[in-house]
Amino acid sequence: MEHYLVKDLMVPISEYAVVVVGTPLIEAIRVLEKAQEVYTVSKYQHRSILVLDENGHIVGKISQLRALKALEPEFKFNDEIAEMRKFKFSETYIARLQDKYRSHRKFITDSVLREAANKKVEEFMQAPSPGEYVADDCSLDAAILQLTAGQHLSLLVTRDKQIVGVLRIADVFAATFHKMMTLK
């Protein structure tokens, strides 16, 4: 286990769900489902989609959480909450505002789903932060620390400044605890 490197556990980029900016949400989900169908290496399915710009660089990631956020009719509401914090409103006030907002919104309606289906991925994707990159020859120990410290669900694996794969928390979890169970 201590000799494991990131590249031993990563999913190669070629096996991952990848779309380009401008892709509608519905199309991105189809790409994800297709990637899940053909991926048989692990019992853990892909749960996110990578977004590339026109030059092939990864500019964002869509997790299940981000995809659900795209259903919110006013995605900007989250910006408003961030703004309330910036301008010193209390957490109590913000919680009250969220309740008020939720009680007035219904997400699972045909019109909301239809509208969300056509949203472009760049509208709700999450740009990778500096702490989300890990070198493919990095030890798994260091990668675990990086996952837990940043509370990431996956890390982008690099080799010579190129993204070559994705290190998923599910694979790290499985490898780590399989090892634990082999101990006497």
Partner: protein, 473 residues
């Protein structure tokens, strides 16, 4: 490169260094904004009055078209058509209460401007920062057209056009166009355009933000362009009248002004006006075909056109009132734009508080009942319903409420009280309650004001710069 350009580059560099954490570059804005070629064309002037004896110090600066009153020091700075009003600074031995402390000033307060560029900016009031009682500092700061630095020491900040910072110490902040901030102390804050924020920690917090697409019509700013929009055009269209009052050495006095009222020599006054007792009209104010009732005031950069102000009306710095009738005691906050039409006038009932940076721009007649609080953008009755509340109802709020784009948290009664007390203080300071030789304020004291002019180098490498000057009483 002449001295003026070197000075300009140095100021921009200083502001940028302070704003590096916000990743904000003032350079593109500054290049189009600061009219270096105009800096040798306008004289600067200062007031002499027994109440506020001049104590001025200019060093390595350009101060074209700017006005100074009271005690100030300007070093390595570039001021263009700005007003530096030191008539409300604190005095030696004055005491200030802060929490459970009583602080005593060891010397007279001074406005201290260093390494800054202020363009058509108003600096007024006094420092409300208990850490810097004797010095109202403005350093490493760039303030653009019609911004107000009101009782707000500033270090390393950028104020976009029509931004106001009021009673707030600011460090390393960007204040967007047409934003109004009153929050005591802010640092490393990037404020979007059209943000109205009044925060008194522990007491109340008021927040409103203009929808950007709607604000753009009124004031817009982008790199490499001079600011544009209805508010900018409105002033440009009346620029010629100001050129007349600044060009002529001796203007004809207007006989109909009562002895208890003051009409500044650098205000534009066009027929037909009626001015009652205890009225103050400040420099760069513009009054046309209007009535200012007893105790009303029109502060710097105000425009009052075809309007009637009943009595004790505060028209704060930069506010504009067109085709309107204002009841007694109405307050119109900083940079507000109240624009009725000839065929559809605006009526505002007595005792209303029009929040700073409010835009009321109507096509059809609109009447606002007495004692309302109004904010944000109002174009018709629907907007008014969304962006106003009765002061009495506001006073009853004990925890929070939101309405439209407005958010409020805290004690509504304290919020209303703070506004009402401040309005009373402004009227008092401006001399609205003067009677029987008592309660004199700016309206009466300014009558003992005379003006002197100073000019810059006209030729050579120092063209546009002013010689180092000290003026003492």
């Amino acid at each position: 490169m002449n001295e003026l350009e070197k000075l300009f580059n140095r100021i921009v560099q200083r502001v940028n260094i302070n704003l590096r954490e916000l990743n904000f570059d003032v350079n593109p804005f500054a290049i189009e904004l600061i009219p270096l070629d105009q800096m040798s064309k306008f004289y600067a002037f200062y007031g002499i009055t027994p109440d506020h004896p001049p104590e001025l110090h200019f060093e390595h600066s350009a101060i074209a078209g700017s006005y100074f009153l009271g005690k100030s020091r300007v070093r390595n700075s570039l001021l263009y058509k700005s007003d530096i009003r030191g008539d409300e600074l604190k005095h030696k031995d004055q005491t200030i209460s802060f929490k459970n402390l009583t602080l005593t000033l060891t010397k007279d307060e001074i406005i201290d401007i260093e390494d800054s560029a202020l363009i058509k900016t108003l600096v007024h009031n006094c420092s409300h920062d208990p850490e810097t009682l004797e010095k109202f500092f403005i350093k490493n700061t760039l303030a653009m057209d019609y911004s107000n630095i009101h009782g707000s020491p500033s270090d390393g900040c950028f104020l976009a056009p029509y931004a106001t910072v009021d009673l707030t110490t600011m460090r390393d902040c960007v204040i967007g166009a047409y934003s109004y901030i009153q929050a005591g102390e802010i640092s490393h804050l990037n404020v979007d355009p059209g943000t109205i924020w009044v925060n008194s920690p522990g007491n109340f917090n008021f927040f409103y933000k203009y929808p950007l697409t709607l604000l753009d019509r009124y004031v817009s700013l982008s790199p490499d362009k001079v600011p544009w929009g209805i508010l900018i055009d409105f002033i440009e269209e009346r620029k010629v009248e100001f050129l007349r009052v600044f060009d002529v050495v001796n203007l004809e006095a207007i006989e109909s002004i009562p002895k208890t009222s003051s009409l500044d020599r650098y205000a534009v006054v066009l027929p037909n006006i009626k001015i009652a007792d205890n009225v103050l009209v400040s420099q760069r104010a513009y009054i046309e075909n209007s009535t200012l009732g007893q105790g009303a005031n029109a502060q710097e950069n105000c425009f009052i056109i075809n309007s009637h102000l009943e009595a004790y009306n505060v028209t704060a710095h930069g506010a504009k009132i067109i085709e309107a009738e204002l009841g007694s005691g109405t307050f119109v906050g900083f940079n507000s734009f109240l624009c009725g039409k000839k065929e559809g006038r605006l009526k505002i009932g007595a005792g209303c508080v029009i929040m700073p940076h409010t835009i009321i721009d109507i096509e059809q007649a609109l009447e606002i009942p007495a004692n309302q609080l109004v904010w944000g953008l109002v174009r018709d009755k629907e907007d008014l319903a969304k962006n106003s509340i009765a002061l009495e109802k506001m006073s009853g709020i004990e925890s929070s409420f939101s309405q439209g784009e407005m958010h409020f948290e805290g004690n509504g009664a304290l919020f209303v009280k703070a506004f009402k007390e401040r309005i009373h203080h402004i009227l008092e300071a401006n001399g609205a309650f003067f009677a029987d030789g008592k309660n004199a304020g700016h309206a009466q004291k300014n009558q003992k004001l005379s003006l002197n002019t100073i000019k810059p180098f006209q030729f050579g490498p120092m063209e546009g710069m002013y010689p180092n000057i000290r003026i003492l009483p």
